[in-house]
């Protein structure tokens, strides 16, 4: 009985129940209305309304809206905090909680679970691609799986970014929490039903076959599978999470920094979080609009992207390329949402393990903003072969090449930080170095795609696949894993197993190089993207077998990390207060941090990375009145 009571106290259980109930309500409503109006049943309309209702149902039942709804009718609700009454402490991680560290961990664990789902999908279609010819998938299921792999990994990355930003930023700037704790919880709890919608799209209504980009007319054409619609709506609702989270973060950093923490004295990761949030806050709306337009085109036959559209009233026909502009106006900048926090982690950890100040702090900080800004001006480089106006291609080519400059500043600053340091090689540092090496591959293979003449060959080839996997792994996955290992003692109070951590690194890094370099090789030899089967005459069979093998190695290495994280939390070992000798405020106090982070507020009295200056500190406790 007690177990049952605990189970039904969990917000996640109610979120799932709410999602099912909402879907059923939406379905019933549409059927009833259409029956009452003597209309034939429409699976498409039922699905859209059911999906929308399912998100509302999930939010309502999970309890994340409860406080706000009570406020609407004049009931005041104090900010609930601390462990839940009468329930085990762990249950707060499965329910709506307003503490930024709890939400950060919820984001992080969800991110890893979603990463595993996306990874399993990758392994499935890599096995299919190991040899030419049909193995065990049909072309349609292959299309569904690679499309789902793309968007599910993006969902995982956004959750991982949410984890790092939520957990780290308030702690680093000395805030007790985020500025809007309820909005913070909302950002997480709306990501859950969105991810479920996307995954449901794989199994309900024949999946979908558009890739994660969802270009019309393929996504809107008659007979396109119903799963497409669920994917589009999941994508759409996930945007709320990004926008709300970004506003919250920006306000928090602007108004809640500790005394003395001027902008130039913030930990460098906070700069990256600002740059990321500015992008999320300003670009996400565009892709939301594009997804709604696709939905209205599918359901209501509005012809935004349909060149054959005619309503008899003289409205202009639609344009498929318009979608690509709207889509990439978000989806290119969002690439920098994925990588800027990771690059911030690299810059944050290198000084600690090099025992030396971050080389060119201001340049590194401004390079993040520079990347974010230039990132808004390059979207059409995804469309160099799309048939858009020739005159537009040139400014986008020039702007694209400019991205190399702030990125180069980061690389050289990292080398400068190492130069003359006293470097040690614990697991987090290994992942930082792995991240630099992988991001270097990703970065250097970009300009050849940026100059249009060379892009005409490489566009939509496996070169692109290799290039962006290197940027995603170097800019997000490796730094994310570095951050997990680095702050694991802070989060749990236990030390991870160093040996397993190193095994993870030495499997994953060479595995990744092999995979990414192999993908680029088959691409330059003529392998097209998103194909289910390939021509053996290209001479790429051996490389494909290697790519599959390395994907398997990467998969196993991640499982080793998960095993390490779970078993290490059960050991007796207690991590020292400051195992890394960091100057950052969170490492000056015992782990894990208390509910509101610091028992005594601190003030900033030095530079964040002044390693090598005897006796200098970054922060100290604010003297209490009368001291």
């Amino acid at each position: 009985m007690r177990q049952l009571r605990i189970l039904f106290s969990l917000g996640i259980v109610w979120a799932l129940i709410g999602q099912a109930a909402g879907a059923a309500a939406g379905l019933f409503l549409v059927r009833a209305i259409r029956a009452a109006a003597n209309l034939p049943p429409s699976a498409e309309a039922e699905l859209v309304i059911a999906a929308m209702f399912s998100v509302f149902g999930s939010l309502l039942f999970s309890g994340v809206l409860t406080d706000w709804l009570k406020w609407c009718v004049g009931i005041e609700t104090p900010l609930r905090h601390g462990d839940p009454d009468g329930l085990p402490a762990w249950t707060r991680y499965f329910s709506v909680d307003y503490n930024h560290k709890v939400i950060g961990i919820q984001y992080g664990v969800t991110s890893i679970i979603v990463l595993l789902v996306g990874g399993i999908l990758a392994i499935i279609f890599r096995l299919e691609l190991s040899w030419p010819g049909e193995q065990f998938l049909t072309p349609e299921s292959y299309n569904t799986i690679f499309s789902a792999h793309g968007i599910i990994m993006i969902a995982s990355i956004l959750l991982g970014v949410g984890a790092m930003v939520n957990y780290l930023v308030p702690m680093m700037i000395g805030a007790s929490d985020m500025a809007f704790p309820r909005l913070n919880a909302f950002s997480y709890w709306i990501a859950i039903p969105s991810a479920i919608l996307i995954m449901a799209g794989m199994v309900i209504g024949d999946g979908w076959e558009t890739g994660w980009v969802g270009y019309p007319p393929l996504s809107t054409i008659d007979g396109s599978p119903l799963g497409t619609q669920l994917f589009i709506l999941g994508f759409y609702f996930n945007g709320f999470s990004s926008i709300a989270g970004a506003i919250n973060l920006l306000v928090t950093v602007m108004i809640m920094r500790a005394k003395g923490m001027s902008l130039w004295r913030m930990p460098i990761f906070v700069w990256a979080a600002i740059a990321t949030s500015l992008i999320q806050f300003t670009a996400t709306q565009t892709v939301g609009a594009a997804q709604l337009m696709v939905t209205t085109q599918r359901v209501l036959k509005l012809g935004f992207f349909d060149p054959t559209f005619s309503n008899g009233l003289g409205w202009p026909a639609g344009d498929p390329i318009l979608y690509q502009h709207l889509f990439w106006f978000y989806s290119h900048p969002v690439v920098y949402v994925f990588v800027l926090p990771g690059l911030g982690i690299i810059s944050e950890l290198l000084p600690v393990y090099s025992r030396k100040p971050l080389f060119g702090y201001k340049w590194v900080a401004l390079s993040s903003l520079g990347i974010a800004l230039v990132g808004f001006l390059v979207w059409a480089h995804h469309m160099f072969t799309s048939g858009m106006a020739d005159v537009l291609r040139i400014p986008f080519m020039l702007a694209t090449l400019l991205v190399a400059i702030p990125t180069g500043v980061k690389f050289f600053s990292w080398v400068g930080t190492i130069w003359g340091g006293k470097v040690t090689f614990e697991t987090p540092m290994l992942f930082v170095l792995g991240a630099i090496s992988v991001f270097l591959i990703g970065g250097l293979t970009g300009p050849i795609l940026g100059t249009i003449p060379t892009d005409l060959h490489l566009h939509d080839s496996y070169w692109v696949v290799g290039h962006f996997h290197a940027t995603m792994f170097g800019g997000f996955v490796f730094p994310f894993f570095a951050a997990i290992y680095y702050w694991y003692p802070k989060i749990t109070g236990h030390m991870y197993n160093e040996r397993l951590g190193k095994i993870h690194f030495w499997l994953m890094t060479p595995g990744f190089w092999l995979m990414s370099l192999g993908q680029m090789q088959v691409g330059i030899w003529g392998m097209r993207r998103r194909i289910y089967d390939y021509d053996p005459a290209l001479g790429i069979e051996f490389t494909h077998a290697l790519i599959t093998l390395s994907a398997l190695i990467i998969g196993w290495s991640v499982l080793i990390m998960i095993y390490n994280l779970i078993t290490s939390s059960r050991t007796e070992r207690v991590a020292a207060i400051n195992p890394w000798g960091s100057r950052s405020p969170e490492w000056q106090v015992p782990s894990p941090l208390p509910e509101f982070n610091y028992y005594r507020p601190f003030e900033v009295v030095g530079e964040p990375y002044d390693y090598g200056v005897p006796g200098s500190v970054y922060v100290r406790d604010v003297p209490a009145a009368g001291d």
Binding site: M520, G526, P536
Partner: protein, 277 residues
């Protein structure tokens, strides 16, 4: 620590490593056969990129690895590194030098693109109409008033599913500037023959153009490079670049393949890609 001396040694190491890196790239990333005049021009730029990739990779990798080895913490040393905040001269240097490189590549790219997309009619150019549909290609020659002949031989593609194989070949005369005017009747597609190096999407409701001059007789493979649904991988066709005489027989006169000259037969022509890499 003598940073200057270490910097000189490391920089000297960058040179041989660059050469090795370029050599490895050149053998591992060998570009497909050059089947068009455009491929020759584009490949010059590709090689320039490869040199730059080799150099920048070596620069960062050598300096980083050298730094990690030389500046590793020694046993029993608990101290910090030297307190070096940064160096404005260096920062400006590594902002300005890449900027110059980027501007150089930008200007080159603009000029080359203008050359590749030059819409001015060339003497002797041939207009070909390309229609993409799920999941096959159709070709016709509006100036000659003929369609591309059906492929009488069973498919030359091994990868294909016989159920929906494309049975029309695109036959092009060698060394004549080709202009493809392309339309799609359903979803997006993309025309890519790797040996020609150029690629262009087909967009419903619009006509898009692709210009190139094939320079070598042979059988090439055209594949759709934009996801278009279930059989996307199999939306392929054979592109046959033939001599002017064969083009005259096969397309202008519409002779059946069996009656055409022996040099126009499939077997008489090299196949690209050449799987013996």
């Amino acid at each position: 620590m003598n940073y200057k001396r270490h910097l000189v040694i490391a920089s000297a190491l960058v040179v041989p490593v660059t050469v090795i890196a370029y050599f490895l790239i050149a053998i591992s990333y060998k570009l497909p056969f050059q089947g068009s005049a455009e491929a020759v021009k584009i490949d010059v730029m590709m090689q320039a990129h490869f040199v730059l990739i080799a150099f920048l990779f070596s620069l960062v990798a050598v300096l980083m690895l050298y730094g990690l080895v030389v500046f590793r913490r020694r046993e029993g040393d608990d101290g910090d590194g030297d307190h070096i905040h940064g160096n404005t001269t260096l920062e400006i240097l590594w902002t300005v030098v890449p900027l110059i490189l980027v501007i150089g590549f930008g200007i080159w790219g603009v000029n080359l693109l203008n050359e590749l997309t030059d819409a001015e009619a060339k003497p002797n150019q041939l207009l070909v109409h390309v229609q993409g549909q799920r999941w096959s290609w159709n070709f016709s020659y509006p100036e000659l008033g003929v369609n591309a002949p059906a492929n009488e031989r069973a498919m030359v593609r091994e990868v294909d599913d016989p159920n929906d194989s494309n049975n029309i070949d695109l036959i092009l005369p060698v060394n004549r500037p080709i202009v493809l005017e392309m339309v799609s009747i359903d979803v997006l597609h993309s025309f890519w023959v790797p040996e020609f190096r150029v690629k262009q999407d087909l967009v419903p409701g619009q006509t898009t153009y692709l210009r190139f001059t094939p320079t070598a007789v042979g059988n090439y493979k055209l594949g759709c490079a934009e996801i278009c649904g279930g059989r996307h991988a199999y939306m392929m066709a054979t592109v046959r670049v033939v001599s002017e005489a064969c083009f005259d027989q096969l397309v202008v006169q519409q002779l059946p393949l069996a009656e055409a000259d022996a040099s126009c037969q499939y077997e008489a022509m090299p196949n690209y890609p050449d799987s013996a890499k």
